[in-house]
């Protein structure tokens, strides 16, 4: 056999690095044999032995590091999920995720983006709706941490808007703002975990939370239903006048909400579309 070309070698080694067991199992796999015959790999025709290591042992240095590195990335983003699942179940979930969703991005900060959706499809997990939303909350925290910087709107810049113009404006929300509604009290659960209270699986109770970054810290703000609905509409880019209709009989609170949310940097500017009234 001729020496492997670079592409075949890299595809072969990629399989070796990613194999969940070890290098020997990898080079014996059907996929790896497509690129390099097992016999050549096993007998030092591809990777040379060293004075102290056989070729498979040398490949195992790379195989061993891959899984642990990526699981560590997930571990750092989802401490609450680890608590909820337990270390053993978390490890197997993370291992499966690494196998099903190989990293496609140069930056590891994106690696766990699909974990909440991955959990949602895992029928073997107890209370997976809760686990999915807890993972979503922790992922939103990570996204808020890395979101682009933004400057909060100066409310004084809106002083001269007429009531009609207020109704038409579309507010620009902070790029860090995320909203999560869950049938479970995931934010309370996460806070209990951060407070070292060893929380148990919670009973169902709808919760709503805004996640955003202010002063380089990520904050989680619990919201009731009317406030959540108004903020959701604003985040979706709807006109202020349309968004506040969701407040219903809580409309009298809109001034306070706007003041608080502006102070927290949730709005960065606004667009005033032309008046289309005939």
């Amino acid at each position: 056999m001729t020496d492997p070309d670079l592409l075949s070698l890299q595809r072969w080694m990629s399989l070796v690095v990613q194999h969940p067991k070890d290098a020997q199992a990898a080079v014996r796999s059907k996929k790896a044999k497509q690129y390099i015959p097992t016999g050549l790999a096993m007998h030092g025709k591809v990777v040379l032995p060293s004075s102290r290591m056989e070729p498979m042992a040398r490949l195992d240095v790379y195989n061993g590091g891959y899984l642990s590195r990526l699981i560590d990335v997930i571990r750092s983003d989802f401490p609450g999920l680890i608590h909820a699942l337990g270390e053993h179940a978390f490890f197997h979930l993370a291992q499966d995720y690494v196998e099903k969703h190989p990293s496609q991005h140069a930056n590891l900060i994106f690696f766990a983006a699909k974990l909440p959706g991955f959990i949602a499809k895992r029928k073997d997990l107890p209370k997976r709706a809760f686990l999915r939303d807890l993972a979503q909350l922790e992922w939103f925290i990570s996204e808020a941490f890395h979101a682009p910087a933004s400057q909060a709107i100066d409310p004084a810049s809106m002083q001269n808007l007429s009531p009609e113009e207020w109704a038409r404006i579309a507010l620009h929300c902070s790029p860090s703002l995320r909203l999560l509604e869950s049938p479970y009290p995931v934010n309370g659960y996460l806070q209990s975990f951060f407070d070292d209270k060893e929380p148990e699986f919670p009973a169902r109770a709808i919760s709503r939370v805004a996640i955003y970054r202010k002063d380089f810290r990520v904050w989680r703000l619990g919201l009731d239903k009317p406030a959540f609905q108004v903020l959701s509409k604003l985040l979706a880019g709807e006109a202020f006048g349309t968004a506040i209709e969701c407040a219903g009989d809580q409309a009298h609170r809109i001034g306070d909400w706007f003041q608080d949310w502006s102070a927290d940097g949730l709005f960065t500017g606004y667009t005033l579309p032309p008046d289309s009234t005939p």
């Binding site: 690095v17 591809v46 040379l48 240095v61 891959y66 590195r69 496609q104 140069a106 910087a149």
Partner: protein, 286 residues
Amino acid sequence: MNLSDLRQDDLGLGIGLRTVHFGHILENWPDIDWFEILSENFMHTGGRPMYILDQVAERYPIVMHGVSMNIGSKDPLDLEYMQELKVLRNRCKARFVSDHICWTGVDGTNLHDLLPIPYTEEALKVMAEKVKQVQDILEAPLTLENPSTYLEFAHSEMSEPEFLRQLANETGCGFLMDVNNVFVCASNHGFDAKEYLRQVPWDQVLQFHLAGHSTFETHKLDTHDGPVCDEVWELYRLAHELSGGRSTLMEWDADIPDFDAVHGEALKAREYRQSMSSTSSSLEND
């Protein structure tokens, strides 16, 4: 900016800008010559890390060091990554942009490891084309680091220093000589580290890295989790003599101690740099 300009630009002794030291740096603005950033830690992020970097970059020279350029892969260059890298380079006015002589993934998958390449004519051609493309995008020389490796390919056609020499001839790129990596590879592969250093194309070398490693029964691993061992310091002395002196970075990326401990380790390099300077002066006086 060409390579000879950069070669003259000995920044002195630097350390890596790491999250655990942010508070100390902002409070004390320590007496350090320069900082190196891990490029990917400041890409696709707009929070506190960028705020810190902006302030640090106002006061210290910055050098960028990346791990995801995938320069040795058969995959095409990731142009989105390159654009982000260039934006970051311009923002922090980095003096050098470096990555590694390695590949990190193929067919779009990123394995997030510095994987070894075979030192073949084919790999040389692949890498040279991509280095030229990177340099066109950056409008500056790319600097590439010799990696720590844990295996050698049977079909390699040349030594690592020869590969470096030919890559430099093809592209004019610079090199970052990681002295600890030379030591680790020499131990793992059974070659003479001093002989390796004597074969390095020193005109192309812009920077040194120093770091700690871990020793196992069968091999050494480049772990950046401790002080520099005596053997690596001695190799640094030789490298410094052979090169005439280059910007030097102390890497400490795991089990990171407080800033003063890392800084103290970096300052040890000063003894070697000064002994070299005094040797040069006495030779000139003679």
